[in-house]
Structures are given as structure tokens and as C-alpha cells.
């Protein structure tokens, strides 16, 4: 069973709809620790403010069960958008500590480093670069592109944890990961066949 973690932040139905489309018929949306503990895979979606997201996660009482399942029992988890940023130690957007499962931080786009005049948020499609040896990107169509909506982006301590990159004004980490823990800044559930392939890979290889 795959559980989409419901901590009242953002739109979960479209994630579920896409998972079902790619053949994951047992994807459920839940905020119940007893359901989450039985999951063989987890998805942590989310949109909005970093501190709001962390506070909601705490309020939902799920931090302990997530720590146990993800860190100790190595249950695969895919963070999406804010859900990916929450995997980092913290964000310039707020003062709450993140889950800190990946040695990375979340920072505001530095417009002074942009090589062209662009507005933030970065809202739209971007091509991505990835290492196709990583199972998450297996059989990914050429010139893959994904849909992004964000003002902040992730930065890893170790280059090896930066699984996929994109460019907006400059190159940034579009996805980070270590072992069973993965986070993508973009929205696979809104990214046509590219997102479908990524979701399919997550349910197949993790």
C-alpha cells in the first residue's frame, strides 16, 4: 500500500489520480499513523509556506511515525514541492526546523545571480538534467520537462545528493535524494508523460 500523507497542506487528489493512472491502485490518502505504519511507500506532497507545512506536520502528530518508518525502517518516501523542501534542514522562508533527513537547505532564489530578467516565483515548465542510472529516471523520455511553482529551492551539501537539476536564472537542484528518501521540487502529478514515468519508476523500483 502506498500512502499519500495528508497533513492538510495542498492538493492530494491529483497525486492520487496520477498514481492510479500509472497502475498504483492501492494509493490511499491518510493522516492516520496506524495506516501510515503499514505503508510500503510514502508520498509527502505539499504547497505553501515552509513553516505552515512543518507546523501542520507536527499538529498532525505524524513526525514520530515518519521518523521511525523512513529513517529506521527505510520505507521509500517521495516528497513533492514543499514536501521535498521539508526533507531539508530548514528554509530561508521561515524559522521552523525541517525534517533534516537530507543534508541540504532550502533558500530563496537569488535574483542577483540571474543571467536574465525573470520574475519569481518560478512558475512553468523547465527541462531537467539527470543521471539516467538513477532508477527514478529510468526510461525517461528525451528532453524531459516538468512543471514547477516555487520561490525557494534546495541546495545539497554533497553534490551526489543532487539527483536532478534545472535552470531558472541559474542552475538549481530540482530533486534531491539519499537512499530511500527522495524529494522533487517540481510537480510530477502535473507533468504529463514525464511525471507518469517518474511516478511509475517510484512505485516500481523503490
Amino acid at each position: 500500500m502506498l500512502v499519500i500523507i495528508d497533513y492538510k497542506v495542498g492538493n492530494l487528489t491529483s497525486v492520487q489520480k496520477m498514481l492510479k493512472k500509472v497502475g498504483c491502485s492501492d494509493a490511499v490518502i491518510s493522516s492516520d499513523p496506524e495506516v501510515i505504519v503499514k505503508a510500503s511507500k510514502l508520498v509527502l506532497p505539499g504547497v505553501g509556506h515552509f513553516d505552515y507545512g512543518m507546523k501542520q506536520l507536527k499538529l498532525s502528530g505524524l513526525i514520530d511515525v515518519l521518523n521511525t518508518q523512513v529513517v529506521e525502517h527505510k520505507i521509500p518516501i517521495l516528497g513533492i514541492c514543499l514536501g521535498a523542501q521539508l526533507l531539508t534542514r530548514g528554509s530561508e522562508e521561515g524559522s521552523e526546523k525541517g525534517l533534516g533527513w537530507i543534508e541540504a537547505d532550502t533558500i530563496l532564489f537569488d535574483q542577483s545571480k540571474f543571467d536574465q530578467k525573470l520574475k519569481i516565483p518560478h512558475m512553468g515548465w523547465s527541462n531537467v538534467n539527470f543521471n539516467s542510472d538513477i532508477p527514478l529516471f529510468k526510461d525517461m523520455p528525451l528532453a524531459s520537462r516538468f512543471y514547477f511553482v516555487h520561490k525557494y529551492h534546495m541546495v545539497c551539501d554533497e553534490g551526489a545528493d543532487n539527483l536532478v537539476s534545472a535552470k531558472y536564472g541559474y542552475k538549481f537542484a530540482a530533486g534531491i535524494g539519499k537512499n530511500n528518501i527522495i524529494g522533487v521540487q517540481f510537480h510530477p502529478e502535473k507533468s504529463h508523460k514525464f511525471g507518469m514515468q517518474l511516478m511509475r519508476n517510484f512505485i516500481t523500483y523503490y
Binding site: 520574475k119 512558475m123 502535473k190
Partner: protein, 257 residues
């Protein structure tokens, strides 16, 4: 080279897909669900759907239709028409839309924009602004599907909605709607210069190069069109269409500065 969002904008009237000229003479195009399926197969960047009869009929958004559409749309989807409460917004986003579009509600109750931004993030709060030149030749914001003039200059109202927390503005030129005369670059520039949030230009697109122009000259962040994507040509024979990636790349993205 820069990617911009190229968005088909679809109008729904009494459950069917329609296309207007100058916000009048609505021509029946077909079934909206079917159109969304085709656009999904064509891998469009994003899709905007506006039910133009909801407010007129004093009706709530058609949630079952939205749900059905969202089930076919594996791309960003924004929905507008008849939205007056936060609860409706919650339901529409839950059903799988990415953003909601407010028009009448933004004029009558700007606080709703703020509430949406606070609760769901500004990226989900889009305001569409319909603009026409009045008899003095001044740009004015119009309401009720372009029938009633307001006292707002478009830049003034755009700033107000930005301050209220909107994440994006869809700026429609009523005078250019469905005319294939190209975008109103002056209007688009006036508004784009006045705000920091993305402005999506709509009204008048006749060819892909119009999109290049309205970004490079008009300052728009994204572009949308109706007729261009639902008709085969200016003769207005119905044909749902959208350029392939390679064509978008050559004809638009590579020319964006």
C-alpha cells in the same frame, strides 16, 4: 531561449465549450471534457477553463464537471466561473485544479483573493481582468462578461489585486477577443510594468509570433489563446490543436529574450 507557458483558454457556457468574438457571438465548439482530453494528449503546458455562464445565472461552480475535467488533465489546470466562497475554492482545488480564477468576485470582494492566498498560497489565486477601451479611448476594466464598465484603469486594478495577494493576472483584451488581430501590446505593457506578479496575455493571437511579441514587447510572462487553439483558421472551422514541442521551441521559445 526561454520557455514561457502557452495556455489554451476554454470558455464554458451552459455546459458546452464555446468561443466568442469581442465577448459576443458565442459559437459552440463541442464537449469540454473531450476537448481537455485532446489537449492532454497534445501535452499542453497548462489549461484555463472559465464557465462564463455561472455568475450570469447566479449559479455555483459545477463541481462534478470540474472533477471530471481534472481527471483528464495531467497538467496544471485553472478554473474560474461563479466562485464566491472560500469553501468552493477548497473543493475545486481538492478535485484537482491547481488554481482558481476570480473575476466578478475580485471586483466585489477582494478579501476573497487575500483569503485564498493565505490559506492555499498566492500561486493558486488568479484574477482575470477584462479590459476594453471606452468611448473616450481610455482603457477600463469591464465586468459582467464585458457588458458593464467599472471606474478602474487596468493598471490600478492590477495593483490592487497584487496587493490583495493574487499570484497571477490573466489580462483579457475584449476588443481583440476572437479577432485574430494580434495582442494589444500597449495594454499588456501598461499592466505588466505596473505589477511584479506574472501577467498572462489573452486576446487576439493569430499566429505563434504574436506570443513572442507580447512577451518581448508587451512584458507578459505567459500567453493564452482561445480561437487559435480551437479553430483551424480564421474561417473558424472547429479543430482542437496545439503546436508540437519542436515547433514551440523554434517558433517561440528560441525567440524570447
Amino acid at each position: 531561449m526561454r520557455r514561457i507557458r502557452v495556455i489554451p483558454i476554454l470558455l464554458i457556457q451552459k455546459g458546452g465549450l464555446v468561443k466568442s468574438i469581442n465577448f459576443k457571438n458565442h459559437n459552440y465548439i463541442g464537449d469540454p471534457i473531450n476537448a481537455v482530453k485532446i489537449f492532454n494528449d497534445k501535452e499542453v503546458d497548462e489549461i484555463a477553463i472559465i464557465d462564463i455562464s455561472a455568475t450570469k445565472e447566479n449559479r455555483e461552480p459545477n463541481i462534478s464537471q470540474i472533477s471530471e475535467i481534472a481527471g483528464e488533465a495531467f497538467m496544471p489546470l485553472s478554473y474560474g466561473g461563479g466562485i464566491t466562497t472560500l469553501n468552493q475554492v477548497k473543493t475545486i482545488l481538492y478535485e484537482g485544479a491547481e488554481k482558481v480564477i476570480l473575476n466578478t468576485s475580485a471586483l466585489d470582494n477582494l478579501r476573497l483573493v487575500t483569503q485564498i492566498a493565505e490559506q492555499f498560497g498566492s500561486q493558486s489565486a488568479v484574477v482575470s481582468i477584462d479590459v476594453k477601451k471606452d468611448w473616450l479611448g481610455k482603457y477600463r476594466v469591464y465586468r459582467n462578461n464585458g457588458k458593464k464598465k467599472t471606474s478602474f484603469a487596468p493598471e490600478t486594478f492590477a495593483k490592487k489585486v497584487e496587493e490583495a495577494g493574487a499570484g497571477e493576472i490573466i489580462l483579457m483584451s475584449i476588443d481583440r477577443d476572437g479577432t485574430y488581430k494580434g495582442f494589444d501590446l500597449e495594454l499588456m505593457k501598461n499592466v505588466s510594468d505596473a505589477v511584479n506578479i506574472p501577467v498572462v496575455a489573452v486576446g487576439g493571437a493569430s499566429q505563434l509570433n504574436d506570443f513572442v511579441e507580447v512577451v518581448n514587447v508587451g512584458g507578459a510572462s505567459a500567453v493564452a489563446a482561445g480561437s487559435l487553439f480551437v479553430y483551424a483558421s480564421e474561417q473558424r472551422g472547429v479543430m482542437i490543436n496545439y503546436p508540437k514541442q519542436a515547433r514551440l521551441m523554434n517558433a517561440i521559445f528560441e525567440k524570447i529574450i
